[in-house]
């Protein structure tokens, strides 16, 4: 097995959450030394993100399938009744009675069917195979006769049609509502009393409302950034709710280890990107808003660093927005501890659906893409 193959086995364990410390070290070493696997890794993380959605089957599916199934079952039953006679009808009546998910009840009804089969019946004396279907109505078990005549599916058709239509009316069931995501109580905005509906994934929210113990130091809302000027007219770190949910998962993992995150930049509306570009119109330092712009303008990108749970910054490869080779994700030029920390941040962020940006160790983008915010 090649080193690359071993890397992918370790990666599988990381996806499963079963990778031990030694494996994690080995995986990081390979990531740091193999640009090829870094790229493959990024592709794979994105692909997993692209598959990470659910669609709801249209109601026609069940209606169409069941329309065909009922028709087929009825035909089969009629064929059997012509040749086999009424006992089959009794057996299928037992099956119909047994429509329940409780196995005990199922056994009970099955047992009842057997008892009835064994009980003396006028049918037992005659030749069962030749009993015409009409005689079923004369049998001493009228409820069985009812079941034989009534195809259960027909009761679902209020229009009294014969059930031949493929598009039976769709009856919503309790299962239809089970897909609604539940709101984790602790993620609700403070003071909401739990009554506020959960935002949509595309809603822009204030990160602190949902992750109260995250640190926010929005550099572009202060003069403490490379331009020396205040760029933002707001002070909240805002992101898409879908992205915040991923950050929640990251934080959950970090809390256990005694760490937290500090956000340096989050949503940067296009207007703010223009302001940056006016001050510094050089794409080596600022993404050109007239071209592709910055991923920060989509609300799924965040600049952050690892801090201890008390907010004290952990050693990292460089400062925020440092324009040197130290800022990229090649950690061979920084202290082992800084490289280790940056890789830890990278590992946790990617494990929860973020894509690291090669040129800036602090910059992560949600694998789900959002629209640009003007």
């Amino acid at each position: 097995m090649t080193e690359h193959e071993i890397f992918f086995e370790l990666l599988g364990q990381r996806f499963d959450g079963t990778l031990d410390a030694a494996g994690e070290r080995r995986l990081r070493e390979h990531l740091a030394s193999c640009p090829q696997c870094r790229e493959l890794y990024a592709c794979l993380v994105q692909a997993r993100g692209a598959l990470d959605f659910q669609v709801t089957p249209p109601p026609e599916l069940e209606a169409r399938v069941m329309g065909a199934v009922r028709r087929e079952n009825r035909q089969r039953r009629q064929r059997r009744q012509k040749t086999v006679g009424v006992l089959v009808g009794v057996a299928s009546a037992a099956a119909i009675l047994a429509v329940t998910l409780i196995p005990g009840y199922l056994r009970l009804t099955a047992g009842m069917a057997r008892d009835e089969d064994a009980a003396p019946s006028p049918c037992m004396d005659g030749d069962l195979r030749e009993a015409p279907p009409d005689e079923a109505d004369d049998s001493p078990a009228p409820e069985d006769g009812d079941f034989v005549d009534q195809v259960p599916g027909d009761s679902l058709k209020p229009d009294g049609s014969d059930g031949q239509s493929e598009l039976a009316p769709y009856a919503p069931t309790s299962q239809d509502t089970t897909d609604n995501p539940t709101i984790p109580g602790e993620s609700l905005p403070p003071g909401s009393g739990g009554e506020v509906p959960e935002p949509a994934d595309t809603d822009l929210v204030n990160v602190l409302d949902y992750i109260p113990d995250i640190y926010v130091d929005l550099r572009y809302a202060t003069e403490d950034n490379f331009t020396g000027q205040v760029i933002y007219d707001f002070t909240q770190a805002r992101l898409r709710y879908g992205t915040v949910k991923k950050l929640m998962a990251v934080m959950e993992e970090l809390r256990e280890e005694g760490y937290s995150l500090k956000i340096w930049d989050a949503l940067r509306p296009v207007s703010a990107q223009y302001k940056l570009w006016e001050i510094c119109p050089d794409s080596r330092y600022v993404a050109n808003p007239n071209n592709k712009g910055s991923t920060h303008s989509r609300g799924g990108t965040v600049d952050l660093t690892l801090v201890y749970s008390d907010g004290f910054e952990v050693e990292m490869p460089s400062g925020f927005d440092e324009f040197s080779a130290l800022a990229d994700r090649d950690y061979s030029d920084v202290s082992p501890q800084a490289g280790e920390n940056a890789l830890m941040l990278e590992r946790i962020m990617t494990a929860h659906g973020f894509i690291p940006y090669e040129a800036e160790w602090w910059h992560f983008t949600d694998s789900t893409t959002y629209d640009i915010v003007e």
Partner: protein
């Protein structure tokens, strides 16, 4: 549904009980339809494939031997039905490439352009879909089982008749092959690759 409940329901459905079969459809339609959608990439084809899969299940219900869970059996039927539809559409009509600029413009009504993110998601799904279909069948199958259907290693091992350790190493190779296809096809190079190229010149763009 527990395995025991599933047995009872299947047994009832085998005896011709419509409502028992309906329980199976309700229980599994979401997973079946999602797999079909992610494989065929279209709502219409996904509906057809799911319907085919359930009807094939119904027709072969008598031969179901409880050797595997119903879900595994249904997935196989869904996969086959989806592949049949994909093959037919390849032969019968020219499917416009969704990433093709002109082709996608045709689908967009003037008054209501779909949000850019929806288009992008669709493109991403399409790229994954294509890369997965390009994999050789053994690799594709194990990717589907793990990445699309979230099957446990035990269930995959059972379905393939191999040890769990073998499942993991095969999955690793399949993931690697998939990543290579994705990289080759280009949609998923994203920031990482474009900035690698930038890096060759004079430094990378700031974000």
């Amino acid at each position: 549904m527990t395995a025991a409940q599933e047995r009872s329901v299947i047994a009832a459905a085998q005896r011709g009980d419509d409502q028992a079969f309906e329980l199976l459809v309700r229980e599994h339609q979401k997973n079946v339809y999602n797999l079909a959608f992610k494989l065929t990439g279209s709502e219409e084809d996904a509906l057809d494939a799911s319907q085919d899969a359930f009807l094939r299940a119904f027709q072969n219900l008598k031969s179901f031997r409880f050797e595997s869970r119903v879900s595994v059996w249904l997935y196989r039927l869904t996969y086959n039905a989806s592949m049949d539809i994909i093959k037919k559409s390849r032969r019968g009509r020219i499917v416009p490439l969704p990433t093709d600029e002109e082709g996608s413009e045709l689908d967009i009504p003037d008054d209501a352009p779909p949000p850019e993110e929806a288009v992008q998601r669709r493109e991403e799904l399409e790229s994954v879909r294509r890369a997965v279909l390009e994999l050789d069948p053994d690799k594709r199958r194990i990717i589907l089982m793990r990445e699309y259907q979230n099957m446990s290693y035990t269930a995959i091992a059972q379905a393939l008749g191999v040890e769990e350790g073998t499942v993991k190493s095969r999955l690793a190779r399949a993931r690697m092959a998939l990543a290579e296809k994705l990289k080759k096809n280009g949609t998923f190079s994203g920031e990482t690759q474009s900035n690698k190229q930038m890096g060759k010149k004079e430094g990378r763009d700031r974000m």
